[in-house]
């Protein structure tokens, strides 16, 4: 019995160390953590990779787009990310009603930085491809910034973004 359990343990340990790990090039500095598109902002959401892709999906699905600008070494971004990713209601609404994109580098499209380039910054875009510069946070010097305590305001703004602009397109 002990022997059987020991064998089982060995099998478990072996399995856990080989599963999903085919032989790969391992960089000199050691094995890296695989990069994800979510970057921790919601691992269960379907993230667009680029702004072009996000606009494509937004138009096709007729859903507003949320663009999050952030940096991984910015404590404000990290604090916001924690609250954002743990808010189940916010995540559910994003999953059902939004196209989502998070970026660490600016795009060439100036409309995505109505009052400058800073992080964290959250911009909504209507499926008509109009940046919703009217949907802002509470800081007059950085109108699209949100702090963790602003999560309720962010959810309210998501409701605003869901009321799509009427366009003649």
């Amino acid at each position: 019995m002990v022997k059987a359990l020991l064998s089982l343990l060995l099998v478990l340990v072996t399995l856990s160390s080989t599963l999903g790990k085919p032989e790969k090039n391992i960089p000199k500095r050691g094995k890296r953590i695989v990069q994800t598109l979510s970057r921790g902002w919601g691992d269960q959401l379907i993230w667009a990779q680029t702004y072009e892709e996000a606009l494509y999906w937004s138009r096709l699905k007729n859903k507003p787009l949320m663009v999050i600008f952030h940096l991984e070494d910015c404590p404000h971004s990290l604090a916001m990310k924690k609250v954002f990713s743990e808010d189940k209601e916010l995540q559910r609404i994003l999953d059902e009603d939004f196209i989502v994109l998070n970026l660490m580098y600016e795009t060439t499209d100036k409309h995505l930085s109505p009052d400058g380039q800073y992080v964290p910054r959250i911009i909504f875009v209507d499926p008509s491809m109009t940046v919703r510069a009217d949907i802002t946070g509470r800081y007059s010097n950085r109108m699209y910034a949100y702090e963790p305590s602003d999560i309720k305001l962010l959810r309210d703004n998501m409701e605003k973004a869901k009321k799509l602009l009427k366009t003649e397109l």
Copy 2:
């Protein structure tokens, strides 16, 4: 002894089912696989997310950029990806000497589709931000397409791309 082993087993099983899994919004259709930036083209490489980001790193590091256009439901892309990701030498050279980007959606930059938009398609870009339209595969109708059997040609082309263009920038 048996009891101790059983406890250890229980701990292992509990650990493996909870580790790295904080409570999350689970979409109605069930838990999704987390999307990666590599998309299977080399999980140990550091992938740029967007073309803008890739150009930034290429200039900063003075390394050529490889852009792979592909689709996850294209059998030619999948066959190429398998050979590409399993070629340790190719992966090592990419890791050390290239900036890498894989895209499933076209960018707005026409220079990235010198002879049209198709997949799989591999385009090299010099750190001077010049698309290396001179570095081609073996098919005259789709000059930037590669088949799995062309992997040696692709490695040769990587060597060409590493000989940087001289620019007056």
